[in-house]
Symmetry: C2
Subunit: 239 residues, 2 copies
DNA sequence: AGCTTATTAAATGTCTGACATTTGCGCAAG
DNA sequence: CTTGCGCAAATGTCAGACATTTAATAAGCT
């Protein structure tokens, strides 16, 4: 695979990393392939070798590439990616053609984890946590239905789930909130956003909120599971 | 805080990063403090500015530092650390004075997560997963009791839990296995390793193994919880 | 022919010095 | 007291040469 198919870029090693990462995530290179050389990348995008090296350092840290002196740069397979690296979430967000295997894996994780997280949140939530949750839910309500507010709605959706993870008051769970963004963003492109499904989604989210507010761990657990059942349908994972 | 208290190092930006990271994790600098400048670090350890920059790049990616041109390098607080970065696990492993808040947070995560993971493993485990689990468990048995095999025993302990995460056959859960190593290694230094507690720990691990082997999700869930109750006692989190 | 050993080419890694850019501070004019 | 200018100090960037590792190739010996 060559670099010719990639769009131009404008300034900064971060953007270059973003560009190359999205190409890798989209499967432009097969695992095991040799990635273009530093100098070639520099020529193609008209950037210095330093910028290229900085970008490739990020990709290597994220487990997307494997570099060894003399041999070159190899593309690693999906199983080796560091999915929990915050940079990965950034790169995955907004990517239309995310590997279905990946979407499914992240969903399966959320389906098993979020009920537990919601239960923890019901135990540990403070006043500010509830405020965040309510604010996010209100935003979801206000942006529901309008077609041109779909992106905004997704942001509130992300905020709601992120607030749930934060409310667990556990450092580890909290950082996992990064994974939500790409998962929820994938919803925008895959779901039809019919009115009745949106209402259903809102109702299930409200039950999570209420359960956490009433400190009902069991209800929070089942409500979170119900939200994700709705999500699975919208993602097309189950009919 | 100065660099004078740090041990010398020998070659490689990775080792330098390891050294500085452990100093940061041990709390040698307070959050908000300004970290030594690149040139000073280079002088002190007799390495080039390149090596220093490479090391600091890793620490920055892990959320330990925040660098801005002109201002300098600031130390970030514990809540900002990227605990899920594999490098962090490497750095935390073998650190004697790990922040109790961190040990507790990781333990709380495991206590809520591992029952779910064990249940998933009971559903999804294949033949090779069972083999890994049995091999690790056998290693734990063989190295129990002997004082000079404590490190080896811990390795088998890590392998057992890691095999459980792997057996869930979920890409996200699997990567979380990194967190196990520092958590379990902390056990070595904190627990008294009396014979009866070791026997008890082994018995509970065996129940997890049996439950997964028999594909009993509920039993796996409760057995994993029992293992972690034992761990909590050994960690001194509960009496 | 087959195996071992130099040689060479090609890629990433490293060093060095200079320069660019950003930030915070001091100082002076208004 | 505020504003603006300029200086100093820190990280960021660049360019070029060099070092190191790796794989392939050719030479040479048995």
């Amino acid at each position: 695979m060559t670099l010719d198919a990639l769009p131009p870029h404008q300034g900064g090693a971060e953007q270059l990393a973003h560009l190359l990462a999205q190409a890798l995530l989209a499967g432009h290179w097969q695992p095991g392939d040799t990635f273009p050389r530093e100098l070639d990348i520099g020529k193609h995008f008209a950037v210095s070798r330093n910028q290229v090296r900085n970008a490739l350092t990020s990709l290597t840290a994220a487990g997307l590439l494997e570099r060894t002196a003399g041999r070159g740069t190899l593309v690693r397979k999906l199983g080796e990616w560091h999915l929990l690296d915050p940079l990965m979430s950034e790169w995955m967000t907004g990517l239309v053609n995310l590997d279905p295997q990946l979407v499914r894996a992240i969903y399966a994780f959320r389906y098993s984890a979020e009920p537990v997280v919601a239960a923890l949140a019901a135990q540990a939530a403070q006043a500010d946590d509830l405020e965040r949750l309510e604010c996010a839910f209100a935003g979801m309500e206000n942006t529901a239905g309008s077609v041109d507010k779909r992106a905004e709605h997704a942001e509130y959706d992300v905020a709601f789930h992120d607030a749930t993870y934060r409310a667990s008051h556990n450092l580890v769970w909290r950082q996992m909130g990064h994974l939500l963004r790409p998962s929820i963003m994938a919803l925008i492109h895959r779901s039809q956003h019919r009115t009745d499904t949106l209402d259903d989604s809102l109702a299930r989210h409200r039950q999570v909120l209420d359960a956490i507010r009433h400190r009902d761990t069991h209800a929070a657990e089942t409500a979170a599971r119900e939200v994700l059942r709705r999500t699975a349908i919208d993602l097309g994972i189950v009919s």
